[in-house]
Symmetry: C2
Subunit: 335 residues, 2 copies
DNA sequence: TATGATTATGATACCGCTAACAGTCAATAG
DNA sequence: CTATTGACTGTTAGCGGTATCATAATCATA
């Protein structure tokens, strides 16, 4: 491993002071062309690279932000991440990643790491962290929260309209004449799930369809969870003619188990998902689902954070991103 | 934003020296129970958090490693990432993420960022970076390269056996009596692609099937690329009875376009993919493909790096991970 | 021409922490 | 009873940068 040149080495080699080198490197302040050239030459010859850790310490800013998500291998989050990462880089920030596996304990660990490493800010996707903890974090480090809303008007937040999304999914089924519409919820301790359930119930009520608890199951957002749920739904009376799943992955599970149990989708049962992840259009049948702009969510989140860091925050700091119903082949009209 | 307590504040409050606090925090050296308790109390009361940036600078190690991948929204890499991230955390490291979008320019940018931020090491997935550059990086920072092999025996590397994988995919088709087997390659400037093509050719030769350039197309690993390729294959004479795609995503594209053009899979054409990403089993028809252990690859890569950092590297530093043929419904025997 | 403003550079004091060495004191050994 | 050891704590000098203030030289302005 080669030894690394420091700013002092460069200063010595080019016969100027530390500060002159620093100014050249950061293009700050005034330096004559001549000295700049001299310094630049020394930098090249020594292969000098500024030590950003040292800079962070001295300048009290690190130019990186932490993004903490429940699961990067979930297309939903990796897509969001991509948007975030991109926007961050374009604005001179690097990204520190935390994958919490949905565990509160890991969420805390990563938040601590971010603070201790002097992250300039955090973009946090932590569906089950308690509200008061979030406020506490917000006192320690600039924060943007994603995919959940919190009733605190000084914390920037970006989230999707789960309620409206769920309603339009269910109303789509109702419009196709379905009455026995089952609902496969996500875990009850995350806000998304609750909102989607609320949307389901509101849609039914709006159209005077009774809410039947037997048609409601709680899943865990996993593929396996979807499979299990399908089996339960179809071993129960009354069998639903349609199922609305709280996310696409569970919908995939439903569909796969349906195939195996020889129940045809959409002939025997219509299925609607939520998220429109990349592959929802590719499965058989292509999934009717709710699309929300994941990339945009990532971009918006970092944008808010960067603005906050530059004290350029608008008065509007809460963004609800609109979702759209994508009708494909997993739903059909019944008589 | 609250002001942050420093180690000095703690020292003052508990009437000990800086070093004593440092020792308590890091559990290094000997401290009496009494002073430890005193210091711990002060730490709690001041809500002190060690500044890891400062620590990194002083201790010349940062306890984080950079992982640089072409595309985290690609399940292949996000899965790998997950393994890496997990293993890293368990060993006291955090992860810095770089998504290069497959661009050499961004690869360089992230490598620089990693070095400048004093990353302890880099796990690099950079299929098209030139070999000599990789060696150069290896002189500056501990490096593990993933998903490509390089003929340099001091750089730890983990990769999959693309050649064998491709061969077994093609031989599977040959065993099903196919002769007109098309090949959809990845970009020609990445090693994976080259190896898979080599495997395709070797399998054909081994079974005395002539290699027909008309049946070979170059794709870009994208879904769209798969769609386009299918169209080309089927507007060309001779039409293949089977297609081996260099990755699953392209295979999905092939299948989708096939559906649209009313060509039945596997009745009219058999399709084999490569990667076995999560959703390959869920599409219609479920995809026959080559599975490689992505999670394991991430774990192994970080394991090698951590060992290297602790000077515990075995003599064996090159790992080829075995892949397996997963036979599903997208391939069938012909007469 | 005297004055203030601007440009170009340097000296110094940190940022918050750790490594390395230097004590102090009590216990144990010779 | 002195020497040695080990447990415990402190002092000092950085790590590699930047902020801040100071200084000298140059320039424009009244």
């Amino acid at each position: 491993m080669k030894a690394r040149a420091t700013i002092r080495d460069v200063a010595k080699k080019s016969n100027v002071s530390l500060m002159t080198v620093s100014r050249v490197v950061n293009q700050k302040g005034n330096i004559s062309k001549a000295t700049a050239a001299k310094v630049l030459k020394a930098i090249r010859e020594l292969n000098y690279r500024p030590n950003i850790t040292a800079r962070s310490l001295a300048a009290k800013k690190s130019d990186f932000i932490a993004i903490i998500v429940p699961d990067i291998s979930n297309p939903f989050f990796s897509e969001m991440m991509k948007g975030a990462e991109d926007f961050a880089r374009e604005n001179g920030y690097n990204i520190f990643l935390g994958d919490t596996e949905g565990k509160v304990e890991l969420e805390k660990e990563y938040i601590d790491a971010a603070i201790n490493r002097m992250a300039d800010g955090i973009v946090l996707v932590a569906p089950r962290l308690e509200n008061n903890l979030i406020c506490e974090i917000n006192d320690n480090i600039p924060l943007v929260i994603v995919d959940r809303s919190i009733n605190k008007n000084d914390i920037p937040q970006v989230y999707i309209d789960n309620l409206k999304g769920a309603m339009s999914a269910v109303e789509h089924l109702i419009n196709l004449n379905h009455k026995n519409i089952a609902f496969l919820s996500g875990p009850k301790d995350v806000q998304d799930s609750l909102q989607r359930e609320k949307g389901y119930i509101m849609a039914l009520k709006k159209h005077n369809i009774p809410v039947n608890p037997k048609l409601m199951l709680i899943g865990d957002f996993s593929f396996e969870g979807g499979r299990d749920a399908f089996e339960k739904f179809f071993s129960n009376y009354p069998k639903p003619t349609a199922i609305f799943a709280s996310n696409d992955i569970m919908a995939f599970g439903l569909i796969q188990r349906a195939h195996e149990m020889n129940v045809k989708v959409p002939k025997d049962v219509s299925i609607v998902g939520f998220d429109d992840i990349l592959l929802s259009s590719l499965i058989n049948p292509p999934l009717t689902t709710i699309r929300h702009p994941m990339l945009k969510m990532g971009i918006k989140a970092v944008e808010l954070l960067v603005n906050k860091l530059n004290n350029k925050l608008d008065t509007k700091i809460s963004f609800i991103l609109e979702n759209t119903l994508i009708v494909r082949k997993s739903t059909r009209r019944i008589e």
